[in-house]
């Protein structure tokens, strides 16, 4: 039994035809079954349109399964009455840093989630300060959100998720719109959160990010293609090709240099080379 249990999940979008009737449209996810353990760091990868963002939205009930079930910490996402119990346990950070901040002032935005949960003002203040310290933005707490860079805005969004004190944070391509520096900063925060015991689910199309997880889930055309450790995935060239993905450059280097297949992240490979 995992923290999140997904059973035969199917998501089918409906569309409106010419006569104005609702007809079945694209099947975004089909027959997905997964268990996500508490405290794990799971990456979800796949080509555009593989259904990875749709899967993310199923994890906190933003999308309700057409068929199958998603159970979070014992609560079914299809149950309207417990939806807020789920969303306070599973926070989410979206791709576009601009379109997820609600308030113009940094600390007011971080406070938005806890305020919605109806928490006492003194505790909100403490949570907001802590969250801002964790993402390294405490000094900028009274600045206007529009003055910040994309990477900084994304850190504010993460602080907003942390301030909810969730068990799990789903990151839906959080680095896709950032420059390399902003991307590295966000990844560092995700690793820190994982070491602090928070379950991290990272949707990404950067393989160099996926290789830092404990476990990589590969989707293709809405179906689960494979589910393994990064070491196992990134030593299987055929699987990477079948998924329509690309080997990260450090793995290419590892294989061309004939280094052991257990090495996955750039750090591990660099350490191996330096130690040799």
């Amino acid at each position: 039994m995992g923290f999140i249990e997904i059973r035969d999940l199917k998501i089918e979008f409906t569309k409106i035809d010419e006569s104005g009737k609702e007809v079945p449209g694209k099947v975004a996810l089909d027959g997905i079954s997964l268990d996500i353990e508490k405290g794990s760091f799971v990456a979800v990868v796949g080509m555009n349109g593989s259904g990875k963002s749709t899967l993310a939205k199923c994890l906190n009930g933003l999308l309700i399964p057409t068929a199958g079930r998603v159970i979070v910490d014992g609560f079914d996402t299809a149950n309207d009455e417990t939806i807020w119990d789920i969303r306070s346990r599973v926070s989410m950070v979206f791709q576009n840093p601009d379109n997820q901040l609600v308030s113009s002032i940094v600390e007011d935005d971080v406070a938005f989630g806890p305020e919605n949960l109806g928490i006492e003002p003194a505790e909100i203040r403490e949570r907001v300060d802590n969250a801002l310290i964790k993402v390294g933005m405490f000094e900028l707490r009274d600045k206007g959100a529009h003055m910040l860079s994309g990477g900084q805005k994304q850190r504010i969004a993460i602080a907003g998720a942390i301030a909810m004190r969730p068990d799990c944070i789903v990151f839906d391509e959080p680095t896709a719109m950032l420059d390399p520096k902003g991307r590295a900063g966000v990844m560092q925060i995700i690793r820190d959160l994982h070491s602090a015991g928070i379950t991290c689910i990272l949707i990404t199309h950067f393989m160099s990010e996926a290789e830092q997880a404990d476990r990589v889930i590969v989707l293709k055309n809405g179906k689960l293609l494979c589910d393994r450790t990064p070491a196992a995935l990134f030593s299987d060239r055929e699987m990477i090709e079948r998924a329509g993905l690309e080997m990260p450059p450090e793995i290419e280097l590892r294989d061309k240099a004939g280094l052991p297949k257990e090495l996955v992240t750039a750090e591990e490979i660099a350490d191996y080379i330096a130690g040799k």
């Binding site: 379109n99 308030s103 113009s104 002032i105 938005f112 989630g113 949960l117 109806g118 909100i124 529009h146």
Partner: protein, 267 residues
């Protein structure tokens, strides 16, 4: 330049005026504007002006910022002044062809101009010393009693907060669209008014579409952060009346009495 507009014209500071509850300031400003129309003679205006500049001095907002608001409406003030100057009947002071200036016209024109100047300075003090978020919070609390008769006070305040937040985002979006259309050879600078208005369509349509996309993203993000309307929501910075607000209320009452009394001054 875009960055200036967004935070309203708030002038950061820590004066007594800054620290007042936003509700106190909103009510005081409204009251002051009403009082300006109660005043009917020179002494009343003198008292109103002195009181206003006392508040400006306490707020420590530089005069430069105070008068900046006036330049924008200078034309309106000048127009009202001239209209009053020539249009009021009474004892003739000066006459030339069809133009007549009367004694009553001069005094009415001066009073009207002074009234407008004080009104604008008075309301800029409110926006200069109050953060936009405090302003919307204050408004939400003030409108709360009306929610019983169906006025959505929380929603109005949230709409204002989001509007303030997204002004810079939409400005950037507009900028991007203009550049993209110019790169495709769109011409926004030549032609008569009608042609120029037409050339705005390729900007407005994409802007409209993209604001809907932004709204959808934001709605999803708010839902993910457990937003479910104003009920059961708490605030990190609860605004509450303090000693300073009580003092301000006493001063306001005193000022109201003086203004009403000033109507009967005859020197």
């Amino acid at each position: 330049m875009i960055r200036d507009i967004t935070l309203g014209q708030y002038y950061p500071g820590d004066s007594m005026v800054h620290r007042l509850d936003a509700r106190t300031k909103i009510i005081a400003t409204l009251l002051y504007i009403i009082e300006l129309f109660v005043v009917n003679n020179f002494w009343g205006f003198l008292i109103a002006a002195v009181a206003l500049f006392a508040v400006v001095a306490v707020s420590k907002v530089p005069l430069k910022f105070i008068f900046r608001g006036l330049t924008a409406v200078f034309l309106i003030i000048a127009f009202t002044f001239l209209l009053n100057l020539f249009m009021v009947d009474g004892r003739v002071l000066w006459h030339w062809k069809f133009l007549t200036i009367t004694y009553e016209g001069v005094s009415r024109a001066f009073f009207m101009a002074v009234r407008l100047v004080l009104l604008i300075i008075g309301s800029s003090i409110l926006t200069l010393t109050t953060k936009p978020i405090e302003l919307t919070d204050g408004l939400e609390k003030l409108l709360k009693p009306f929610s019983k008769i169906g006025l959505p006070s929380h929603e109005i305040a949230l709409m204002m907060t989001i509007a303030l937040r997204f002004i810079p985002t939409l400005m950037e979006e507009t900028d991007k669209i203009i550049k993209a259309q110019q790169a495709r050879g769109a011409d926004f600078e030549s032609g008569n008014i009608l042609q120029r208005a037409k050339s705005l369509i390729p900007i407005l349509v994409p802007l409209f579409v993209s604001s809907f996309r932004i709204a959808q993203d934001l709605a999803l993000a708010m839902e993910a952060r457990c937003y479910r309307g104003g009920d059961g929501r708490t605030r990190m910075n609860e605004i509450r009346f303090k000693k300073g607000d009580a003092a301000a209320a006493v001063l306001m009452a005193l000022f109201l009495a003086v203004i009403i009394a000033s109507r009967y001054i005859t020197l």
